[in-house]
Each structure stands twice: as C-alpha cells, then as structure tokens.
Symmetry: C2
Subunit: 530 residues, 2 copies
C-alpha cells in the first residue's frame, strides 16, 4: 500500500484543501513523505453530513453485524503487516516491539468490544409490564433501552499512535455503541493514521455499512478539531491529550447551542504512596520498580508515576539512594515529537528553577534529537502544599518525591491533590491500617487504585477504569479504556405502550436477543444458549 496523503470522507479518498504538513521522524527531525493537506471547513461539513446520514441505519445494525464489523476492522489492521509498524516507528520514535504490542492491544480491544456488543448488556433493557388493574391508576407497559448518541468526533493521541488513535479505544467504543465516528488524526503520525483509516474504511465496505460510519480528517492545527466539536451533527467527542487541548474542546462543546459531552483525558501525575513497612522491607526493589515505570517509553504515558509520597525515615533515604544510583544509568530516549520534547524541557526547567524542589538524580544526556533525560526531584510536604506548580504534570520521565513528617501530612497531601487517573499504594501487612485511613481520600481522587504495582500498563478488560476526577478527565463518571467505555456514547429511551411490532428488537416481548432484562423489578437469571 502506498501512502497517498489523502483523508477519507466516507469511502472517498480526498486531498485536503488547507495547508499541508508532514510527519516528522523525531529521532532525526527529518520530514517524512507524503504531505498531508488539512481539511477545509467544507470537508469537515461533508464528513459530518455523511455521518449524520449514516447514523439511523448504523445504530440499528444487529448486534452480530456490528460485532462482525469491529472484528473486520481488527482483521484489516492485522493485514497491514509490517508497513504499519515501520511507518509508526518512523513517525513516533517508539520501538518496533512496543508498536507490535500496541497493535495487538488495539486489535484485541476491537475484538473485546465485539464480544461486548454481542452480549448486549450495554442495552440495559428494562421492562415493566402494564398493570391495567392497578389502583388508583393503571400502569402502562414501559420498556427502556440505550440508543447511540449520534456521530462522535475522536481525536488521535500522540503517545499511542494505534491504541488511542484512529481505531483506538474511543473509536472502538463509539462504533460499538452504534455511533458513526469522524477521527481527527494526530498530526504527529499522519501516515500511521492513513494506514489504519484505510483499514477501517475497508471494513466499512466489506460489511456493507453506510459509508458515513467512518471518516478520517487531517489538520496540523486546531481548526478541524474545533469545527468538528462545534458542528451541530456531532453529539459527543473523545480526546486524549493535553489539558490545554481538552479544555479548548470542552469550551467549544459548551458554547454550542446544544452542548455535548466531551470525554477528555487530560493530565495526571499518578501519585504513588510508599508506606513505611514496605519501604523498610524492600526499598531496593521499590526503587527498581519505580525507575522502570518512570522511564518506560520515555515516561510518555498518562499513567506515568510523576509523584511519590512517603513519610520521612531512614528507609525512605535508602530508597532515594537506590534511585540516585539507578537513574544515572537510565538512557535518554527519543520523545514522540519535537513539541513534546520542548514541553518536557520547559517542565524540567520549571522544577529546576523552583527553590522548593531539589534534584535527586538525573539520567543520561541524549546524543540524538529530542531525547528525554530522566529527572527525579524531591520536596517537603509543606512546600508541596504551598506551591500548586509542583503538581503540574511534566509529560515525560520526571518525578517528584514528597517527604512527609507524619501520617497526617500524608493525608493532607493526598487531600490536596487534583483528580488523578491512578493512585498507587506500596504496602506490607503492617501498613494496612494506615492504608485503610487513606483509602476514602484516594477513592475520591483517582479512577484506579493499585496495590504493589506500578500505574503504567492499562489492561483492556471489563473492570478497567481509565478515568478519574477533573482534571484527570473532563468527566469522572466514565472510563476511556475497557468495555465500560461503551456507556459514554449511549442514552436511554423509554417506549410506553408500544405494539410489539413497533418495538425495537431488544425490547420485544419474546426477547429475541436473549438479553438478561430487568423484568418487573427482577433481573432475569438465565440466558438462552448459556
């Protein structure tokens, strides 16, 4: 397959009408061919019109047809073979093995949503039968299901060119819910986006779906994204990126005549609490685990451990000594884009210039372009509590250790934190009592709590929550990873006294989809065929 530099408006491969840009190899700062021209306002409109026209038919596709479509996307992505990995490597600097793993995750994610679609639980079918004899008033027959919100705008993320981009979690969840998707590709990996976009478009065609189910637009700036979120036909948006970007989309979505939900996953420093007994018993192992998690992928994960919290003790000193020995051995790694590298450098400089932060350790200096040098700083809890800048996310391999004088100060620091994607507790049995006192606070602060692990590594499964209170995300009521992500793109509709022939299949009296309905107040226990 040869890259064309074209976007996809439905099944049409179209050259953009706005200024063009190229992908950049961050390891060399070399521009990559071909060029990608940005979508014009008219082209955004065309994609929205196609999505709008497709929505009613697409949201009523059978569960099996929709599941097969998701599986077909996965198959078409698998079929892209090495070309996809090569191009993604060139555009992101991410190692091939990582990208192969991410491709596997992306396809597994699509297949997991296919399983979820087939099971149909997300339809949340509720049936309350009529009670014509009820006094003082009879009850109508009432049935509820969830339907798709409508066309969804999805924004590709810089740090996951596959799993959080064109056919990533937001796209998979929205398509699973029955929503057409228009992707605004991330400008850092347009070639990767084109390849995956074509795979999706091929799946649309192979499954004989309306072409408006999927479009892919390019843009090197913000215009297309804002235009998409502002278009009246778009009913929700999914975004993973910076707080600035997320807030701009939230603002545009709220300024519409009809506001829409924006699911923006924005920033998190992922506090890690090192409890006294754990530190006492295994400071070296904790230091090794910390450094590995901190430096993984040059720290370019939403769940990177950017903050450590511990009570002062000789064991904490031992932990820091171990960190100070390990970090200088950590190699510099190429960051995703020159822009991300620049922001990282600025974040590090801000900490270096802040008299409240002290350097603990510094990693190796890079020899190539855009290379991330690891940094660990520390500070006193009182300083941390006094300076909001110390909890600003530094996207990359930098972390800050907060030294607390008491358990109460640990609690204060936790209570002071902004909303987070994750909070981690390293603890031994002797720490359980203290951990229990902190849990209520941590539950209020984060979407995922981990014990004795590291927050990097987000499993795609039913129980995952990749979300959390603002500003970790714009909407703590949901997750952007895992099968519960489908719930973001649905709304309930109630059907009262409908004749069976007019009811959607999911609600018909014979329960043709074999759903476990909430029937007259009781959950149906059995499902045919299981």
């Amino acid at each position: 397959m040869t890259l064309t530099g074209n976007m996809l408006i439905g099944q049409q491969s179209v050259t953009g009408h706005r200024p063009a840009f190229r992908g950049i190899d961050p390891a060399t700062n070399q521009a990559l061919e071909p060029q990608y021209a940005g979508a014009s306002a008219e082209q955004v409109e065309q994609a929205c019109a196609l999505a709008w026209a497709a929505q009613d038919a697409y949201r009523e596709t059978s569960l099996s047809a929709r599941a097969a479509f998701l599986e077909s996307i996965a198959e078409h992505i698998d079929n892209l073979g090495d070309e996809l990995i090569e191009r993604a490597h060139a555009e992101t600097g991410l190692p091939r093995a990582r990208l192969e793993g991410e491709r596997g995750r992306t396809c597994q994610q699509l297949r997991l949503f296919a399983r979820t679609v087939r099971a149909g639980e997300w339809l949340d079918v509720r049936v309350d039968h009529a009670q014509p004899q009820r006094q003082p008033l009879p009850r109508s027959d009432l049935r509820q299901r969830q339907i798709a919100l409508g066309p969804v705008a999805v924004f590709g993320a810089s740090n996951f060119p596959l799993a959080f981009s064109v056919a990533g979690g937001d796209t998979a969840a929205a398509l699973a819910a029955g929503c057409p998707v228009i992707v605004k590709a991330h400008s850092a990996h347009p070639g990767t986006s084109e390849l995956v976009g074509r795979a999706v478009a091929q799946a649309v065609k192979a499954c004989a779906l309306p072409e408006g189910v999927f479009s892919l637009l390019f843009d090197s700036g913000y215009e297309v994204g804002i235009a998409l979120v502002s278009d009246w036909r778009i009913k929700a948006a999914g975004f993973t990126g910076s707080r600035t970007g997320g807030l701009a989309l939230m603002k545009a979505a709220q300024a519409r005549p009809e506001p829409i939900p924006v699911y923006a996953e924005m920033s998190s420093i992922n506090p890690v609490l090192l409890f006294p007994a754990a530190l006492e018993n295994r400071a070296q192992a904790l230091a090794e685990g910390f450094v590995a998690s901190l430096t993984l992928g040059a720290g370019q994960f939403c769940t990177n451990p950017g903050l450590l919290i511990a009570r002062k003790s000789p064991a904490l000193d031992g932990f820091l000594s171990a960190v100070a020995e390990l970090i200088p051995r950590s190699a510099a790694q190429t960051m995703l884009t020159p822009g991300i590298f620049g922001a990282y450098q600025a974040g590090v400089t801000a900490l270096q210039d802040n008299p409240r932060a002290r350097a603990v350790a510094v990693g190796q200096v890079g020899s190539g372009a855009n290379q991330c040098q690891t940094h660990v700083f520390n500070t006193e809890a009182a300083d941390f509590l006094a300076d909001q800048r110390l909890q600003a996310e530094v996207f990359g391999a930098t972390s800050l250790v907060v030294h607390c004088s008491s358990d109460e100060e640990i609690r204060q620091v936790c209570e002071y934190l902004e909303g987070q994607l994750t909070a981690t507790l390293h603890l031994d049995d002797a720490d359980l009592a203290l951990a229990r006192t902190l849990l209520p606070t941590l539950e209020r602060k984060a979407g995922r709590l981990l014990v004795n692990g590291w927050p990097t590594g987000v499993e795609v499964c039913d129980a995952m929550v990749h979300g959390g209170p603002y500003p970790a995300t714009s909407d703590a009521r949901c997750t952007s990873v895992g099968t519960a992500a489908i719930l973001r793109f649905m709304r309930p509709v109630c059907y009262q006294d409908f004749p069976d022939s007019l009811l959607p299949t999911a609600l018909q009296q014979t329960n043709p989809l074999n759903l476990r309905r909430l029937l007259d107040g009781h959950r149906e226990a059995t499902r045919h065929g299981e």
Copy 2:
C-alpha cells in the same frame, strides 16, 4: 408540628441571616406565616462543610442501612399526616387529592430506591481475575465498582412540591447512591419544604447517620443556588425548572475550577403526532383525551402536550371541531404562583400577537387570582418551520396544532424540533408504516415515546426515562425519574491487585453482597437466596 421558618443545617434548626420571604396562597395572593429567612453565604458554607464531612462515612453505609434510611424518610413523611397536605395546598393551590397522590408517589419512590439499593445492581461490579501466566504479560487482578460522586445540591421544583422537591426524585436518587444532599427549597412552598425537611432530618437521626447527610436551605432568589453549585465541595446538582434557571446553574457549574455535572430538566413541549387512521377512526376520543391531558393541573407539567402535529384532513378538522367544543367548557384553574401565572400570560400573549398562530379555542375565564385560561392555537407547518418562537414552551394549559401538507412535512417538523422529554404517537394499524419511518427521528428527539396515551403521568419504575436531548434536559444520558436516576450520582473506581482485606465489601472474593457480578467476561447467573 408548628412551622418555625428555620432551615436545617444538619440537625440544627437555624434562622437564616438574609432577607425573609413568605409562602403565598396563589388562590388569594395572601402571604402565609411564618417567614423564611434566606441562608447567608456562611450558612451555605456550613451545610457544605457538614456534607463534606459526612460523605465518606455515608457512602460506605451498608446497602441495608441505606435502604432502611430511605424507608425511614418515607415513614416520617407519611407521619406528617394532614398538616403536610394542608400546607402544600395553601402554598400551591393544588387540590388536596392531587397532593395526597403526590405524597403517595413520593414515598413509593423512596421505597423503590430502597429496593434498588438492596439489589445492588447499580454498583456494576466487574471482576477480572489475575492471569499470572498470561503471555506476553501477566494480567493483574482488576475489580470495578461504582462509588458516590460526593455531596449533591438538589433544587426543589415549583410544580411538584413533594415528588420533585425536598425528598423528591433527585434527593432519593442521590441519597440512594450514597451522596449527602443539600436541598435549596423552592421559594413557592417553604412551609411544605420545612415539614418534609424535618421528616428527612428525623430519619437521619433515627438511623444514626452523620448529620451532614442532609441539609435544607431557603432563599427567595438565586444567590443560595449559585453559591451551592459553585462550592468546591458540591459534586453534582439536580434541578427541575425553567430553562433560564437551568442554564444559569449549568454556567456556574462549568465556570468552577472543577466543573461538575448539572442534571437540569428544563423545558419540553412534548409533541403529539396524530396519525391519519387514528384521526379518522376516533377524532372525538382523541380530542377528549387531549383536552384532559392539556388541562390537567392547569397544564403545569413538564410533560404537558404543548404541540400537536397532524396531516391536514377532514378528520383533523373534525378533531379540531371537537377540541373547539370541549375547551370552552374547561374551567380556569389556579396556577402555582403569581410568577408562573404572569409568565403564562406572557406566553399566551406572544402567541396571540404572532400572525403565524391562529386561535382555535379558549377556555373559561377565571374569577379568582392567578387563574389559567386554556388556549389552543394552530399554525401551518411552513410557518412553524419558519418561526422558532412557535416552539417556545408556554408552561400551562396552552397548546399549538401544526397542520402538515404531507408526510414529508411531518418528518420535517419532527426533525426541526428541539430535544423533548416525550413524543407521543396516536396511531392505528394502518398508521404503523408511517410511524416506522418517523421513529428514528423521534428516538433522537425525545427520552420517552408513547403510543396511544398522553404524556402527562410519569410512572416511577425501572424502565421510566424522564429526560431527553437538550434543551429538555442538560444531559440526555440519564433520567431524573425511575430507578436509573441513581446512575447520575456515581462514578466507577477500579481496584488493582488489592488484598481482599483492603477491598470494599462489594468487591471481595467471597461476594458477601451476593451481587451478580460481571466475572471474567461473564455475568453471574445466580444470586444466593433467589
């Protein structure tokens, strides 16, 4: 019980520090004793601080304890006896029988949420067991549950002094979810609010819950409401009222450093489609049903049928003739407040002054204060499509009939509508084909679709949706009536690799709450004891 004019800050009965107001008997325009002083900023702060302090303990109450609390509230409301009905009647002008019915509904609603709490499905427990042998990477143990959002501000509604006020649907749902509630009473029925507020506070005490679980504040203006929604401790708000009020709350909620969800149910004209065969077969019965629904409670329902849509035909003319015969017999009814009466008069005048609307029928003139005269207008579809003002809600017993020249024009009118709480289809078998073509549009426009009924009358049950696309509500993803309303006040939290002793009860390995969990991708089929 003697009314005190005091608000409730937790268990404390406190006189407000801001200017006082009185309830007004709308039938006489007489002020009622006692006076109710508004809450000062400090008093709002106190209520928020108490709610904040109560939240962690309250959200971890056992399912049985929380259910018993909801039932205790219902019992204490029942125990208020006739004093409640008398006071509500004096403050709202609503007939005693209606208020007795509303009290029954309010208490049944609390008991239904108690049942829902005990069943525990809303915890949405998901367990993915560890897979230590998985290649290439092991999987952690991951468990998800829903937890309460935090303190919730609830706004009493003018038109349901019991079912949508102090202990109404929003309060019941938030308390069921584990959220402390601070109610801002509607200024139209402060005495009713005090009585019900005391019943809730007594239940808090009887159940030995932290006092901050419930507070009740008064205010005759907007300050307390805006202060509540702006307070950092408040994590969500529930509102039923005007679009102006709802939009003001949404704006305040978005302007906070941490935006919060506002569930505002604002305005709806509840389109009713009269299909050709139905009109042909039973124009007289439809006219009778329409007039009864239109004039019920002086039209002061969110679901009042404010818009009829039909294709021109002799049968439609017959329907209108029947309406024109029935309406003049409809008695004027006292409206809830002088303010609502004034707004109704202004809305009617706007239609009378609009050359695109023609009067079809007018009800009887009132003899007392604040009496609502019924009005029916009609217009051509082309005029309706050309003048946005014709779909403005007139809160009260006024409706507009839109005459369409073709099925396509019916579709255009439906597609042109703003978001609605309900859409109604009156149809016979011969109309099914046409109805099927309109359903996709109506599903996108409304939260509840009815066949051959009238939209007034909102059943409290599992399958109800009292919600809908903007501007019917601020958030189409949920309902404010029915047990699904609990989902508005929750967010998911994931627990990774937690030792069993540190897990919340709902997630422990032995499943002590007997929940039907989503376990390794499969829904558990059985529940102990069923």
